[in-house]
């Protein structure tokens, strides 16, 4: 038999492996600082730290150790109520992380689910979800947050809900687009031909294949959520004292910035460091899961 039109489907596997391996190394490099910080924050009660809520009105605004007047008792100094800043930065990280991660979990679950439904079912469901996403992305988030928090009151649950509402549309939009391209792939058509139900296809086949994208988005979104939480706390819409978050510490120390810059600087450094690390980690993850680099092989 003489057959024309030959085209091989061989893709260079070596190339893919190299990308993978170097991707792994930078993943570890980017993830390490966050991992250490996470351990520190989780283990905070076990560490020899001062009580972050203990006030000492005679020891107010003590400067950090490297400035004149600093003591080893308070390595990063104290705030306006004489509370130990090192302990507060570490304990503040706990709540900041919990809020950011909870918001990302809630937002990503809803956003991903709606995105997959919109992309897979198309039609009127897609139209409705897409229009809501557009509307959501057009709303200034601070305004929305103020409206919700003022009407629902300040609490952790409301805060997490607000942050989740802010973020779900991002996931929905990206995941819808990925699902749209995935649903036309032959293996999905083949499963439909085999009589697989839409729910099965979405959960068992679409989701595992967009999992990488969700992971990258969610990682980057943790950084965004920390910033958003800080902004809300700074505006007095976030966590309620005596709970501590980095944004709350910024708000509390704002008045003293002239005389005691360290009160706002250390939580500020913590926010910057964490958000930057998360973004770098997200970029490393993206390099690994980038849809353009990904070969379905």
């Amino acid at each position: 038999m003489i057959l024309g039109n030959h085209r091989t489907a061989d893709v260079s596997e070596d190339e893919t492996r190299t990308i993978r391996r170097s991707g792994n190394r930078s993943l570890w490099l980017m993830g390490l600082p966050l991992l250490l910080l996470g351990l520190l924050v989780v283990a905070a009660p076990l560490l020899p730290l001062a009580d972050p809520g203990l006030q000492d009105l005679r020891g107010r605004l003590i400067p950090p150790i490297f400035l004149e007047g600093g003591t080893w008792e308070h390595p990063l100094g104290t705030d306006q109520l004489g509370r130990d800043l090192l302990a507060r930065v570490i304990y503040g990280g706990r709540l900041t992380f919990v809020i950011a991660i909870a918001a990302v979990l809630v937002g990503s679950v809803f956003g991903t689910l709606l995105g997959m439904i919109a992309g897979y079912r198309r039609g009127w469901i897609d139209t409705i979800i897409s229009r809501v996403v557009d509307a959501q992305l057009a709303l200034p988030f601070i305004l929305l947050a103020i409206a919700i928090i003022v009407s629902r009151g300040r609490s952790l649950v409301v805060l997490v809900a607000v942050l989740a509402i802010i973020s779900w549309a991002q996931y929905a939009r990206v995941i819808r687009a990925e699902t749209l391209s995935l649903r036309e792939r032959p293996f999905i058509l083949g499963l439909r031909a085999a009589g697989a139900s839409p729910i099965r296809i979405i959960l068992r086949h679409i989701f595992p294949n967009i999992g990488g994208t969700v992971l990258v988005l969610a990682t980057l979104e943790v950084g965004t959520m920390i910033l958003a939480e800080s902004a809300l706390s700074f505006l007095g819409l976030g966590v309620v004292p005596p709970d501590i978050s980095w944004g709350g510490m910024l708000a509390g120390g704002r008045e003293f910035i002239q005389d005691a810059w360290w009160v706002v600087t250390f939580p500020g450094i913590a926010i910057t460091f964490v958000v930057m690390s998360i973004n770098l980690l997200g970029d490393a993850l993206r390099a690994r899961y980038d849809p353009r680099k990904r070969t379905y092989l």
Binding site: I2, G4, R185, G190, H205, L297
Partner: protein, 278 residues
């Protein structure tokens, strides 16, 4: 061949893609009034250039694509307007094999998991064969069962796709350019496999191809499509030997390095003798 109703009968099928809203592009009529009939055990070819509507027709045939107008009956049963769940049952009597061998398998699922998923979907219809026997049918061994698709070669992946398609014992196999992404030697193997399966399982095949030499070797009848319409149809040898429509002649003339006179047709006439040697 038999007196039973045709496996698949399509009448006046139209598929129109249209956009809604402001600034929409004009409607695209991908398939424009096509009628097609496939009898039991028949291999029917569908040829035509890219953009002629072959794949749209194939998807509609497999009950996976859009159908704007027309009647389709599967083994004598009308399928337009049936309920969604009934449609899912009916649809699984037609299985598909696509061009891209790796794209036809879920990249995150091993061969074994994929087969057991099909088993869980159709307990009754998959009990006839074990995984190993199924792979043996397409000339593969069971040590590939725990491989992920990217660990398979193109030919292996295509065999797995065909095995999956056969697993549910379909009445009709729609093969959309099943060999055009494969090496020449593998192409021949896959095509011979299709022929063997037709003999052993009495499966009907709709083979979509733009490669006339493949069609000539395999198909009993051929439909020639151009711009969404069937311009000519008939027995393979008759149609390729003395094409009536200018477009068919053009297609035949476009085969490089092939002398399509009557003698060369006759010398390679026997697709059954020729089919055993790869």
């Amino acid at each position: 061949m038999t007196n039973s109703p045709p496996v698949l009968q399509i009448e006046d099928l139209r598929v129109v893609f249209s956009e809604r809203g402001i600034g929409k592009r004009p409607d695209v009529v991908a398939v424009d009034g096509v009628s097609l009939c496939i009898e039991a055990g028949e291999i029917v070819g569908l040829v035509g250039e890219s953009g002629s509507g072959k794949t749209t027709l194939a998807l509609a045939t497999a009950l996976l694509g859009k159908i704007t107008e027309g009647r389709i009956s599967l083994e004598g049963e009308e399928i337009i307007g049936v309920s969604r769940s009934r449609m899912r049952r009916l649809r699984s009597r037609i299985q598909v094999v696509f061009q891209d061998p790796h794209g036809s398998l879920d990249p995150r699922q091993t061969v074994r998991k994929g087969l057991s998923e099909l088993r869980s979907l159709h307990m009754d219809r998959t009990a006839w064969i074990t995984d190993a026997e199924l792979l043996a049918k397409v000339g593969m061994t069971e040590d590939l069962l725990d491989h992920l698709p990217h660990e398979l070669s193109g030919g292996q992946a295509q065999r797995v796709s065909i095995a999956r398609a056969l697993f549910l014992r379909p009445s009709l196999l729609v093969a959309d350019e099943p060999t055009s992404a494969l090496d020449v030697s593998v192409q021949a193997q896959i095509l011979n496999l299709l022929l063997q399966l037709r003999e052993s399982e009495n499966i009907s095949v709709l083979l979509i191809s733009h490669d006339l030499s493949v069609v000539r070797n395999l198909c009993d009848r051929v439909y020639v499509m151009k711009d969404g319409r069937v311009v000519e149809e008939g027995e393979t040898e008759e149609l390729l030997g003395s094409p009536n429509h200018p477009y068919t002649r053009q297609l035949i003339a476009a085969i490089p390095g092939k002398d399509w006179d009557r003698s060369s047709l006759e010398s390679s006439n026997g697709r059954r003798e020729g089919s055993d040697s790869p």
